[in-house]
């Protein structure tokens, strides 16, 4: 168990910047998710913490110890890889036992600890098999068991679910969440899947192009995205973003007219709102012909063109309209988020708490 601190951690390859200086404090026992699209530096960050990649600058502290110059084996971490990284010549039992063996833990303890780890991920029936004779989900569970068998200070998980099919992903996700609850070990988890991030994390770090965009609880990130990148990345569908202009407290763009922005200075802005916060109405702030209709099961999603972008609005599941039918949506200023159109940064308003519907 340990607290992890990253101080001005950065990574460069020649002139290419993989990670811009990053500061992060991870509490003891916290489940932290690094979230971002591929190439955003999240895996690089994790590999630097693991010691598989050298940091160009900055310090990595695990516990109160600076680990920059330590070998991976001396950092007291365990890692789960996307491609499992199981040893193909060993049985499941030997795979799980391997960390105990190479670290010289007394033989007498091995069997007990392997059996306990295997039981935690429900692998007991497969102990004599080789990894090649297992399914993807079982292999990933072996990797998990191998990580927990040693009780390390930190778990690192590099997209552990992305090679699994959708159904297995959900059950393994639950298993990881449960394991973390039981072991209370500091965990860093890398993913590009925002649903995994939302469901697993105590805190999420959203990253893009080697830079941290926002750090916060899943709810904070969902309710108060710090910039247009986070807004457009989190949620399914992602937040609608409309480029337009505010004049005299009224936001205007093609097919859009939203009043109620008193106190916001005039000028170009990017307006964002979530599809599930808005609703269809006989007459509303957005009026446009239907571009497409999608049934999602519990609801349906109507898409219209507004302000040069496609805007999704949630509707009842039995709502039906033909493409081209005119519809209107109620989008009060209270559900809207404003962003600077050039920097993409969030513009905070005093009058209305963002993300909370007050209308």
């Amino acid at each position: 168990m340990a607290r992890i601190q990253l101080r001005n951690l950065s990574k460069r390859w020649g002139s290419f910047v993989g990670l811009k200086p990053m500061n992060l404090d991870i509490n003891d026992g916290e489940f932290l998710v690094l979230l971002g699209p591929s190439g955003c530096g999240k895996t690089t960050t994790m590999r630097m913490i693991a010691g598989l990649e050298d940091a160009s600058e900055g310090d990595i502290m695990i516990g109160e110890r600076r680990v920059n110059d330590l070998e991976p084996k001396d950092r007291d971490i365990a890692m789960v890889f996307q491609s499992y990284g199981l040893y193909p010549t060993m049985t499941v039992y030997e795979n799980i036992r391997f960390p105990l063996k190479v670290r010289g833990i007394p033989q007498a303890e091995h069997h007990d600890r392997v059996m306990r780890a295997a039981a935690a991920v429900e692998l007991n029936e497969f102990l004599e098999r080789k990894p090649a004779a297992l399914s993807g989900g079982q292999r990933q569970r072996v990797a998990l068991a191998r990580a927990i068998v040693r009780k390390p200070k930190v778990f690192l998980m590099d997209e552990p679910l992305s090679n699994l099919d959708a159904k297995l992903r959900v059950s393994t996700r639950a298993q990881i969440k449960n394991l973390h609850h039981e072991l209370q070990t500091t965990t860093i988890y890398v993913t590009h899947d925002q649903i995994e991030a939302m469901t697993l994390a105590d805190r999420v770090v959203v990253m893009s192009r080697g830079e941290v965009q926002q750090i916060g609880t899943p709810l904070q990130i969902y309710d108060r995205p710090a910039n247009t990148f986070v807004a457009g990345f989190i949620g399914s569908p992602a937040m609608n973003l409309i480029a337009g202009e505010i004049r005299g407290g009224v936001f205007e763009a093609a097919n859009v007219r939203i009043p109620g922005f008193a106190g916001v200075s005039d000028g170009k802005v990017t307006l964002g709102f979530r599809a599930e916060d808005a609703g269809l109405a006989p007459a509303g702030e957005i009026a446009a012909p239907v571009y497409s209709m999608e049934l999602l099961g519990d609801s349906s999603m109507a898409t219209v063109q507004a302000g040069g972008a496609l805007v999704a609005i949630r509707a009842a599941k039995n709502f039906s309209a033909q493409i081209g039918d005119p519809i209107a949506a109620h989008v009060p200023a209270g559900i809207c988020h404003l962003f600077d159109p050039t920097t993409g940064q969030r513009i905070d308003r005093r009058t209305v708490p963002a993300g909370k519907e007050t209308a």
Partner: protein, 294 residues
């Protein structure tokens, strides 16, 4: 009912194909079979000027030894001319060459396959150039210093030179085998508590066995079949099998000697047959290694 594609071919084509295959088989196997048969005859039969059929029926062999087959060639070569000594030398040279080049090859190949630097690529390219050179070009350079330092004629000298000639190839081949092993294996081993070398030793090598065996086999063949280096660098009493056979051929004054060469050729080839048949799977996978990936 299903028919195989081969059955649906027209009969003439079928016959033509089979005929060609049989012909090829005869052409390919004949020299060895002929030598094998002839090695049990006397020279007068096998190299008969009167009638080539004598090599098959063996009337002179009958007359000289009282039987149409004789082991005189083998006895002469192995016992009289001490071919067993050459076989022993060959064994020493081959085992040493294979062990040394595999040791350096696996360590170097692993390092090169995991190296993030560009010079790894250039090292391999230089290795390829040295591999492409005929071995004899290296030997001529070695001869003078070896004479001067009194190293000429000893087995270890030949072993070192053979390893040097062999190493680029083993390095190249093992590197491509190592590249096919995912990096995650080393990395998870290192996170699990191994040093780089322990990861190599406990995790990578067990996965690499087929590659190591294949490469070892190719090194074996190179050392076993070598003539240029061993003929130039070894003294008469330290000769390995191949130059020894050549020396049988070189002295044709006595009637028995050519037959000694013939019988020892058979003796040298027989183990190769066994070996290739035993390891055929590995050899094929070795020949195609790197063809698709890496």
């Amino acid at each position: 009912m299903t028919t195989r594609i081969a059955d649906r071919r027209p009969a003439t084509l079928q016959i033509l194909l089979s005929g060609f295959l049989i012909l090829w088989l005869i052409v390919a196997a004949f020299p060895f079979l002929w030598t094998l048969w002839g090695s049990f005859k006397v020279e007068g039969d096998f190299f008969s000027k009167a009638d080539w059929m004598n090599a098959i029926t063996g009337p002179l062999t009958q007359a000289q030894t009282g039987s149409s087959m004789t082991g005189d060639g083998y006895y002469g070569a192995w016992v009289q001319e001490e071919f067993w000594r050459a076989a022993l030398n060959s064994l020493i040279v081959v085992v040493a060459v294979v062990c040394i080049s595999l040791t350096f090859g696996t360590l170097g190949g692993y390092a090169l396959s995991r190296s993030p630097y560009r010079y790894a690529f250039w090292l391999l390219l230089v290795a390829l150039v040295f591999r492409a050179m005929p071995p004899i070009t290296l030997v001529s350079g070695y001869l003078l210093p070896f004479f001067e330092w009194n190293l000429w004629g000893h087995l270890p000298t030949a072993i070192i030179v053979l390893v040097a000639i062999n190493q680029p190839f083993t390095l190249w081949m093992l590197t491509s085998f190592f590249r096919n092993i995912p990096k995650e294996l080393d990395e998870s081993a290192m996170v699990d508590g191994c040093s780089r070398f322990q990861a190599f030793r406990h995790v990578i090598i067990p996965v690499m066995w087929p590659g190591v065996i294949t490469t070892g086999l190719f090194s074996f063949l190179l050392a076993y079949n070598d003539f240029a280096v061993t003929a130039m660098l070894l003294s008469k009493e330290n000769q390995t099998m191949i130059p020894k056979i050549a020396s049988f051929l070189g002295t044709t004054q006595t009637a028995g000697n050519v037959m000694f060469a013939v019988s020892s050729v058979v003796s040298v080839t027989a183990p190769l047959f066994v070996l290739v048949m035993f390891f055929q799977r590995q050899i094929v996978s070795g020949l195609t290694a790197g063809a698709v990936k890496g």
